[in-house]
């Protein structure tokens, strides 16, 4: 009997302990929340009146979300510390903390696999808004659309704003991101391979770097004829990642995503858009593109290029580094414009920018420190290095001399200066949603489920719905 009672007491004790620990866990959180709240209030009080949180001695912890950008690896001078995607954020924040010991960082690297920002969205929806976000402006734009980003115009010296290339910011609009580099898209060619098969004369001349769709197809035919396992080109549509590379084919047909500044509806649904869709589909259906385009993604292209499995691809500056420094057998890349239809010569270039944005915060000290950090990241200490790593020109005129661009990247920058830039919606808050309805239509077209006309019409219909929401 005694034994039974002892057992019951022990068991009851255990149950109370378990229940108690659950309650304690809850209390612990709320206690923690309270202390954080108090701390943040205290920081806010201290921060009021200070122009930059970093200059105050009050400790500030900034939450930084950074997209795992493949191009921000192997940073010159920090090769050992930046082997993996996202490592760069630790290196930069450590350097900033050395200069501002009161500012520390809590870093989260967003997995880039799917090309979306689920992780950050979930945090925001659950009420945890970070302080800083580093990513491509195409993905950042969504948060500006939701009214979550800080306008940094007031905090920037006018000379800094003027230092950015024309058109980076709207004249009096909000400066909701500070760009670090400028990725221009072009056609990247394995020049060494064309030399090897004796078809280099089919490529555009260096002084123009422009070609027609017929000339483009002739070059691909030469690769096909060589029949040595090299794919003439590659298109991909498994997910939205890297889709701007393939959009390059649209501009050469005179197709545009929007009618000028009016971004309430897409403008692709015309004859020019249809010609471009048909051309892309023909590349796939006629065996010019690597098989299985609907299941390939830009990571596949990035893997095929240095292995010399593809001769011609839509790409960007990073492919120059990849060809010369990462390939087992380095080869000469040659960058030219996307092909154009007769009568649509010199198509404009699509450019997007990796940038840093600051989320709005009621904590003045945090806000000031975050803006200060954003300027530091987009400033002369780091932005030129990041441009170098991604093989991209700097969007700041005064940094031009600090970035050693490869010949090919410089040539594409020259094309952009000559032909102008195309507005494909990179700063439209709905751009991410547009991409999500663009990709399935490409898949349907590449698999033969839809004709180019059906795919284009469905994209236009879905895109207009997205923009109208």
């Amino acid at each position: 009997m005694k034994k039974k009672i002892r057992k019951q007491i022990t068991a009851a004790g255990l149950a109370v302990l378990l229940t108690g620990s659950l309650c304690m866990a809850g209390c612990g959180d709320s206690a923690k929340g309270k202390s954080q709240d108090q701390e943040s209030k205290a920081t806010q009080q201290e921060g009021d009146g200070s122009s930059a949180g970093s200059s105050s001695e009050e400790p500030v912890t900034l939450s930084l979300y950074g997209y795992g950008l493949a191009t921000y690896t192997n940073i010159k001078g920090y090769e050992d510390q930046t082997q993996n995607m996202g490592d760069i954020y630790t290196v930069i924040t450590d350097a900033y903390t050395k200069e501002h010991p009161n500012v520390t960082f809590d870093i989260t690297v967003i997995n880039p696999a799917g090309g979306n920002t689920e992780q950050l969205d979930t945090e925001i929806a659950s009420g945890t808004i970070p302080d800083i976000y580093v990513d491509n402006q195409m993905r950042i734009a969504k948060y500006e659309g939701l009214g979550l980003l800080t306008d940094m115009r007031e905090s920037l010296e006018p000379s800094v704003i003027e230092d950015y290339v024309d058109g980076t910011f709207s004249e009096n609009g909000s400066i909701w991101r500070l760009p670090m580099d400028m990725t221009a898209h072009s056609i990247c060619i394995n020049k060494s391979y064309f030399d090897k098969i004796g078809a280099a004369d089919l490529l555009p001349k260096e002084d123009s770097r422009e070609w027609t769709t017929d000339e483009f197809l002739k070059a691909l035919d030469a690769v096909k004829a060589a029949n040595d396992g090299m794919y003439p080109t590659v298109l991909w549509a498994a997910n939205t990642s890297g889709d701007v590379c393939n959009m390059g084919y649209l501009w050469g047909f005179g197709a545009r995503m929007f009618h000028g500044d009016d971004q309430s509806k897409v403008a692709l649904g015309d004859e020019k858009g249809l010609d471009a869709f048909t051309f892309m589909n023909d590349l796939v259906q006629n065996g010019y593109a690597a098989p299985g385009a609907a299941a390939l993604c830009d990571d596949d292209m990035l893997a095929m290029w240095p292995k010399q499995e593809v001769a011609v691809t839509g790409g960007y500056g990073y492919l120059q580094t990849s060809a010369q420094e990462e390939a087992d057998s380095p080869f000469d890349p040659y960058f030219v414009n996307f092909p154009h239809k007769d009568g649509e010569a010199d198509p404009p270039i699509a450019v997007h920018m990796n940038s840093v944005a600051v989320f709005k915060s009621e904590d003045a000290a945090k806000q000031a420190a975050a803006i200060d950090f954003a300027q530091y990241l987009a400033g002369e200490d780091w932005a030129p290095l990041l441009c170098q790593a991604s093989g991209s020109p700097s969007p700041r005129k005064s940094f031009a001399d600090k970035v050693e661009l490869g010949d090919e990247v410089a040539a594409v920058a020259g094309l952009a200066a000559k032909n102008g830039l195309v507005d494909f919606g990179a700063t439209n808050p709905k751009f991410q949603d547009l991409r999500n309805v663009y990709t399935p239509e490409l898949q349907a077209m590449f698999t033969g489920e839809k004709t180019p006309e059906e795919a284009l019409n469905d994209f236009v219909k879905n895109a207009d719905e997205v923009l109208a929401e």
């Binding site: 549509a237 997910n239 690597a290 098989p291 596949d300 999500n436």
Partner: protein, 298 residues
Amino acid sequence: MDGKARQRDSFFKTLYRQRWAYFFLIPGLILLLLFNILPIIDTLKLSFFDYNIVAKKFCGLDNYIKVFTDKKFLRSYGNTFLYILIIVPLNVVISLLVSVVLSNSRKWLQSFFRGAYYLPCVVGGVVVSAVWMWIYHPVNGLMNTVLEKAGADPVYWLADAKYALISLCVVVLTWNLGQSIIVFLTGLLGINPDLYESARIDGANSRQLFFKITLPLLKPVTLFVLMTVMINTFQIWEVIYMLTSGGPNYSTMSAVYYMYNTAFVSGKYGLASAQGIVLAVTIMLVSRIMNRLSREGV
């Protein structure tokens, strides 16, 4: 004392008699409340709101109307049933056959294959999918290399809407077969060997032993496997995320993956909640039918 009062009295008597049992259930019940009941109630509530990352507005039944008029959701809902129709019967039949063969084999062989089949369950869907990504790859994939060596035309497993869904089913099968095999093996070990012995004395052959003894006695286990595999298949997600993102053109999109996209890619949490409720009600209905069948059958 009327019937109701007597019933109430008996309820409290039972409660008092089993007080320790209920007392010990408290931690579990709190966890259930925190992590299951409350989120379900919250999801139901959210489904009546137009709720994005930052704003929340009551919208009545709008989300439910959108759910039932959204062709893409209906397609993914249909795909989910296709996954179930393919995966569940194949899983049950294959795992049952493998278990029967293994149960008659030597101990060390049994242990080896049990481990081998269960390994994918341990490493998880993401790792299994990563391996299959390489096997199915349209350019450098193992499968097409083998086909090429055999002189056959390559098949674009994940890039062709005809094959993509079936290809994913194969991945899911390799991943979840181990669990069912372990359950069936345990069930087989529970069958009294005397039954087989006496049947053999009566002249029963192997087929008769299987159909007249093994299969009927495994019925509760089979129904358990059916139910768990079916519910897991309803929730199919990581394999799709890793291999196709629901493509090409929504041909492999499942209802749960579509719901995930609605919530975490498009940021429409209210609409995603409505989709979740529709799916939850479907799972409940199907489970209820299965339960009824199991009670009648066993």
